[in-house]
Symmetry: C2
Subunit: 302 residues, 2 copies
């Protein structure tokens, strides 16, 4: 699910507000656990990491600027905390773990040569120039709103902590992992890992986690109830099910925009193909029906 | 170990600097793993949480102030991240997990009626008055330096995530848990958990974790090589070993100051008494010798 499941644009951004939204998510997850499901939850962190970057910038004359990878690690802690509290308060017997997750990306991922993912606050030109020079940030100007940092969004290639997550899954009802898509790290020629300023798409990380752990199903939770073709046009129609091959064709034809539905469909295709198990896309309120094949859009191997 | 193992007063406070210090810790832990030990690492977070609170205050006109419990969760993420990277870079086959740790404290702990633990930056009187009124902070004036928030330091009574930590310990070489003493939560009459602004002593949390997990030894890592009696006096003498009863007597006689060696000795006494296994206090560079009984101060049951 997206980070906006806990913090929406109209929210006050407080922890108390995030907790209230976490309770809604926890109710759904608790319902699944009561039906016998074991759940891994992968959450985004867009609004939350935005807050962290604002705090970092405002305090930049007093303490060092936070790198984006460190901010991701930080939000894995704070968001896992709110979700765990909400889950324990659904049921004291629910077994929950939040596992810090580092995700390896390729140092030569095409994303790094042309960063496109904007993160954090807008800056005045003078400050932007300073940050580009001193901190080696790449930034772009958004007409009228100022300069903004852009980072790569590389593809996840391995989950560094997969053993720890697998150990947690073996004994827990709910495991929270891969938050914010995971803390991005790259491996150099000698095999050493180092953090890198990037944003990994959480749906692709979720798909990879599901593949490595042998999940029986992946569900991508989003704001819409199902995938549509010709979205926003008079010919718009909902899709109840499609094969990975059909989905790939629609994707190639530009049916699903790169920044929103595109990576969700790609993540679902990858999962279905690698595991032979179904993936689905739909809204959080419909999870039980999505799992039963009675809501959302299902993507199956083939 | 203390949070200053990764960030000392003379450091620049950057993540890169913290990583370099984490490498020193990782070398020691890797050495232990090679000798067949499985290690749980509990770290403090004083300097790191201080940075978080400065960022929060500086950005307080733009985003909500971070509560202390959320900052602890955040540092569990960021510090676990640096330690994990350093450990993986010692050995790619090392199995490491960082588990988010919530620690229950009693809502009626005496600490809450008279908070004494100062946290975060110093404030001018006007801002301090506003924070006390609007955010219900308790603050004290430090003559000449300004006003500072004070919080309770309640005793840890239970580890909420003990099942998750136990699952991780069963399969990992190093588990990082209880960071910053754990995220403090209280349970209300109906059994619901809620975060609370407090600081839990990491040594007491470490002791409790060791007791619950059946650890074979607890080592409190600190800046000194051993415990001393009559510290700083002409009669100062090092202690190689003492029984829990002897240690308790010295503690009652004021041999170990409340803010520094006191809680370390108390944590060691608690561990030795509850488990019958030895606890030790010493410096990080001597860990292997401390485990072998050839350095540090050992506290044994009796």
């Amino acid at each position: 699910m997206g980070g906006n499941a806990l913090m929406q644009a109209t929210d006050d951004g407080s922890l108390a507000q995030q907790y209230r939204r976490a309770v809604e998510v926890a109710k759904v997850l608790h319902g699944l656990c009561r039906r016998g499901y074991r759940v891994m939850l992968v959450h985004g962190n867009g609004p939350q990491v935005g807050q962290e970057l604002i705090r970092s910038e405002e305090a930049s004359t007093k303490v060092p600027i936070s790198s984006l990878d460190a901010c991701v690690a930080s939000t894995q802690g704070t968001m896992g905390y709110q979700l765990e509290l909400a889950l324990y308060n659904q049921s004291h017997t629910l077994r929950v773990a939040t596992v810090l997750t580092l995700v390896e990306v390729a140092g030569d991922d095409v994303g790094f040569s042309r960063p496109t993912k904007p993160v954090g606050p807008f800056f005045a030109p003078l400050r932007a120039r300073e940050l580009m020079r001193r901190n080696k940030w790449q930034m772009v100007e958004d007409a009228g709103r100022g300069w903004r940092k852009v980072v790569a969004s590389p593809r996840p290639i391995d989950i560094v902590n997969i053993g720890a997550i697998d150990a947690a899954m073996s004994r827990m009802d709910v495991v929270i992992a891969g938050g914010g898509g995971g803390v991005p790290v790259v491996r150099d020629d000698s095999g050493r890992l180092a953090g890198v300023e990037a944003v990994i798409d959480k749906d692709l990380t979720s798909s990879l986690l599901g593949q490595l752990l042998g999940a029986q199903m992946m569900v991508v939770l989003t704001a819409v109830d199902h995938v549509s073709l010709d979205f926003g046009k008079p010919t718009e129609r909902r899709v109840d099910q499609m094969t990975a091959a059909e989905a790939q064709t629609h994707l190639a034809q530009g049916q699903f925009p790169p920044g929103s539905m595109g990576p969700k469909v790609q993540a679902a295709i990858d999962f279905a193909r690698a595991t032979g198990q179904p993936a689905a896309i739909g809204s959080v309120g419909h999870v039980a029906r999505i799992l039963a094949g009675r809501a959302g859009t299902r993507i199956v191997d083939g």
